[in-house]
Amino acid sequence: MLPVSEEKAPVRAPLLEVRNLTVRFPLRAPVFARGRHQITAVDGVSFSIHRGEVFALVGESGSGKTSLARAIVWVRRPDGGSVLFNGVDLATLNGKQLRMSRRGFQMVFQDPYSSLDPHQTIGRILSEPLRVHRVSNVRSRVYELLTLVGLEPAFAARFPHEFSGGQLQRVGIARALALKPALLVCDEPVSALDVSIRAQVINLLIRLQRELGLSYLLIAHDLGIVRQIADVTAVMYLGKIVEIGTNDNVFNHSGHPYTVALMSAVPVPNVTVERNRKRIILVGEIPSPGVTITGCRFHTRCWLRTRLGDPEICTSVEPPLEGRVDHSIACHFTGEVMR
């Protein structure tokens, strides 16, 4: 009844639509001053992901990308806005319907050690989703999943501590695929892995996406990986998307000063490139989300603002995210950036 991956959806309707999503956290105040302080981790974010699309969300720690992911997979109810999966607003579903619709979107976690229960065998871990959703032929499906991610079926009898990080991440991916979802939310899927293992797991993700026609919401801080596999990229800063567009547009025609600085900060393993590139060093660090910033939220660190002689508009008016369908930027001076 409810949408599963094979369901026919209206043509061109997005698989996932996020509208004006907001996530807030209560701020732990000192004992004698317990008030109703809140920090806004995600501040009205909207975007949509289509079938078969790899959508990347880029941001540094404190940008709110993990909170956003948790709200999208509905393990934490958002404080505002809505998440529509296959056109159905998740907030309108009752417990049973929600459980059914969960089959369509699954999550791959950052830390393969903490995301697998150490007291369960790989087989039990992989059969949990199947049991919860009363799928038959659990055993053969578990073997199928292990093979799918490049592991031996015999691993089912073993415990997580017997495996390396890369192998465990494959198990994590297999678990996410158990219910044949249409969308995988991958939260920093390779950042906890060793450099020589990263490429293997990225390649696995690329292959699975192609073979199973999956959509990905890829959350990452490693711009190299995003550039390698994403179709659409959104850059987040302090809870808001500041730039969004096709991969080519965001990487080759960056329009937000933050995106430009971020890209210039990523080191490249080539001496010639490193010696000749112009690096923009931002001042300070991402402000704590508890601080209220008026105007553009990037203005405290913006290199362009100082270069333009500190225009008043940056500190007074928050720039809207605007532009074309394939490239939108939230900056008053996009034109200056492009130049």
């Binding site: 540094e60 390698q228 971020l262 890209m263 393993p269 001496v271 931002l282």
Partner: protein, 362 residues
Amino acid sequence: MDYAMCWTLEVGGDYRHSQASRRMLSGVTPAYQGTPRHSVLRVENLSVDFIRGGLGLHAVRQLSYEIGVGEAVALVGESGSGKTVSALAVLRLLPSRTARVSATSIDFDGNDLTRLADSELRKLRGYRVSMVFQDPLSSLNPLMTIGQQISEVLTTHLGLSDSQAAVRTQQLLDMVGIAGHSRRMRSYPHEFSGGMRQRVMIAMALACRPALLIADEPTTALDVTVQAQIMELLANLRKEFGMAVLLITHDIGIVAGFADRTLVMYSGRLVESGPTENVLAHPRHPYTLGLLRSIPRVDRNRRGELPSIRGMPPNPYDAIPGCAFAPRCAWAIPQCHVSSPALEAVGTDWAAACWVKPNEAV
């Protein structure tokens, strides 16, 4: 720049500089000249084993390397490759209960560290050679102010009084770009952001103007934009002080912009060492080559699958007869599985430990 000024003012002070550092202060940073050179650190045949529950773990095997005066050297490797352990072993900072360290010799600044008494070695630590660690939060004492923790180094090694140390601490904070020092000095580590804490660590490490700074993954816990700040700061201070830096990292990107020479470790052994531009452009060890090829780059429009290294790093408890990389190596020949190759020169000051030494561009 600010910190340059501050240090010129300080040079006339009561620092007890060694011959070598006085030479550096005059602004002569010995250029990289290849062998032979004045080395600040020369490690020969360093091995470290960990004894845990009756099992022996070979963390570092027969590691030899050299760092020239004022030179920036990167020690690159994955987790478990032994890069951090080898650095800690040099300064005798490993737990003596579990770690067994052996070396033919470790020559630092004219002292053989393998023969030095604990009390003598202690006088060098934090004074002639200092360290910056990966996680700046856990590396700072949560109960002491920033000011106390920095001045402690000055009072210990330079015999400064508390008030003299306080003055100098302010200058050090200035140098690493922390403004508003009088308030900052009374702050505690938890009141600082990650980048600021790392700046404090750097100020502490450079307080006595060491001849060698060992930076162990100094930016791994930080965001990219902050990483760029810290690396720039380190590069500037290195030029300023003419000190040598041993940068331990797993991020080859950082190496490219910072290090004169690069050492690559795999499974406790040095597999390649040479000038950074050579190693990164034409690596002669298959591991280095595979690693470089598998890194997705932000400056390239390349899509789809990456060339990756198959398999996994070996279990450090296993004894491997041949080359530790052989099981994952695309170039492996039968000999690779039998005997372990030694480092062999492939160019000026450039060596690789491989029987095949493929010659391909990245």
